[in-house]
Symmetry: C2
Subunit: 185 residues, 2 copies
Amino acid sequence: MKEDIDLTEHCISSATLAEGEMLTAKRDEVRLPDGSEGYREYVLHPGAVVIVPLLPNGNLVLEKQFRYPLHQTFIELPAGKIDPEEDVLLTGQRELLEETGYVASDWVKLGIQHPCIGYSNEVIHIYLATGLKAGQHALDDGEFLEVFDVGFDACLDMVQHGEITDSKTITALFLAEKYLANING
Amino acid sequence: MKEDIDLTEHCISSATLAEGEMLTAKRDEVRLPDGSEGYREYVLHPGAVVIVPLLPNGNLVLEKQFRYPLHQTFIELPAGKIDPEEDVLLTGQRELLEETGYVASDWVKLGIQHPCIGYSNEVIHIYLATGLKAGQHALDDGEFLEVFDVGFDACLDMVQHGEITDSKTITALFLAEKYLANING
């Protein structure tokens, strides 16, 4: 990699384009690396957690959920937004329980991913959850989903065959596959 | 997987929350699977293409780019938005040339990913590009980036070590790794 050049874009002024119930859209005037000015538009997001719940039999707990922006049902790992002031690990534990009914005894942070760096400040924290025990799930209002489980290799095949296209799910599977390959020698 | 239940959410009415130069934010009133009503807010996106440019020496062509929503420089694969009416493969060829200066003789579609299914309708098409020849790049106005290349395994390590966190880059590497492992036996 060659000598770093400064690619930083500096905020001149920031305006709110829209403030919805869930989405806030911003439009900032920025100074670009060559000294010229431009605009950047983006969405504010509180961050989220995605969980790779690995059952004792080696299967992963997945969900099937209708995603309105794409008018399509997706196969995803459990995930959810971080509540204000909430510890990230607690978000993971809360969402896993709420969405799937499972409680996990062991949590390993696998990393983070940024789903949409062009127009969102969202960061997604990725956890592997093992030592799963079934409990009682409790969905949020307006949340509808199906829970099922599939073998780990079958999940990887579903990515390769285009049955799983959700970015948080694919990146979490990527990191989990490498992590498990490392610890299993 | 148990018997499918209908998770579809139906549009009752659609409103534009904000219309920026780049972003359009929508707020739709929807009928939920249990018959109740709710709102869904999301961003419209024309779709994009991400390219895995594999050099004859086995290295991948990467970029370093400042992404304003996160005020951070990212390591990414070349990518860009689909122009109106543009064929997706042409988007890939155009963006690879504009951003990196490379022309590729062989293009294989590896699949698609959805970066942000909760609040964007964006779909990203993923291509592997080989038979690369250096040409002349030409960045868009307001676009600043550095181009460099790194070995394939080193790229995978950068994901594992959190140096690459961009979702389109990670999902494209995931699919390329599996594809190349299959064709190389």
